[in-house]
């Protein structure tokens, strides 16, 4: 049952109403998609996030089927606009 920290940025932080939250997902093969689903269940504003947002785990961008482990930091990233 991995416990992960989920971080929100920019527009997604506005939608979620917070910058971060702690989430517990079940199963040893939990993925970022599972974390996202859990976030949608627990944070009302997160239901307005797009179906497949960009995501990162431990500072690296990953696909939504990437595995998560206990203690990971999962970030949900709005469309990137650097430069």
């Amino acid at each position: 049952m991995p416990n992960v920290t989920v971080r929100f940025f920019a527009r997604y932080a506005e939608l979620a109403g917070c910058d971060s939250t702690a989430v517990r997902v079940s199963g040893s093969a939990a993925t970022v998609a599972d974390v996202l689903a859990r976030v949608r269940e627990t944070i009302p504003g997160a239901r307005d996030l797009p179906p497949r947002p960009l995501a990162a785990v431990n500072l690296r961008q990953v696909k939504l089927d990437a595995r998560v482990n206990d203690g990971d930091e999962v970030a949900l990233l709005p469309p990137l606009a650097g430069g």
């Binding site: 527009r11 797009p50 606009a81 430069g83």
Partner: protein, 144 residues
């Protein structure tokens, strides 16, 4: 020098970190806030830790591809007024081709990979999140 800064970008400091007598070509890229749609400034925010890690990866890749070049950058965060630079990239190499190529590589990768976001501030007091992908999501993101 840090890669992310809340102060104006110093091109001189960037240049000092890459130039040497052996490098005869230096390329400077500045991205500045422009005046589209009554924009008075852009508020930049970032996932700081990941942005720093990603910048280090991008600069490392440039170093591997152009081994005689030296490249660095600084990205500004917070409110950047109209006309001021939000990003500065400098590349120095023995010859201009490598300097231009390394500088171009870094800005294109930054655009694709850096977890930085911008909120435009307009003269009428409204704000707009900028979405380079052009997709519309809640909150009225606009193409840029």
């Amino acid at each position: 020098m840090t890669y992310l800064s809340r102060s104006p970008i110093s091109v001189d400091s960037l240049l000092a970190s890459v130039q040497s007598p052996a490098r005869g070509g230096t390329c400077v890229f500045l991205g500045t806030v422009r005046s589209d749609d009554d924009v008075t400034g852009i508020d930049y925010s970032a996932y700081d830790d990941m942005a720093t890690a990603e910048i280090e990866r991008i600069l490392g890749e440039a170093q591997e591809r152009w081994t005689n070049a030296r490249v660095t950058l600084q990205h500004r965060l917070g409110l950047v007024p109209l006309g001021e630079a939000s990003i500065g990239i400098v590349a120095a190499a023995p010859h201009r081709d490598e300097a231009f190529a390394a500088c171009r590589y870094v800005i294109e990768e930054v655009k694709q990979r850096l977890p930085v976001w911008k909120k435009e501030l307009h003269a009428d007091g409204t704000t707009t999140w900028v979405d380079p992908s052009g997709k519309q999501v809640a909150g009225g993101l606009r193409d840029r």
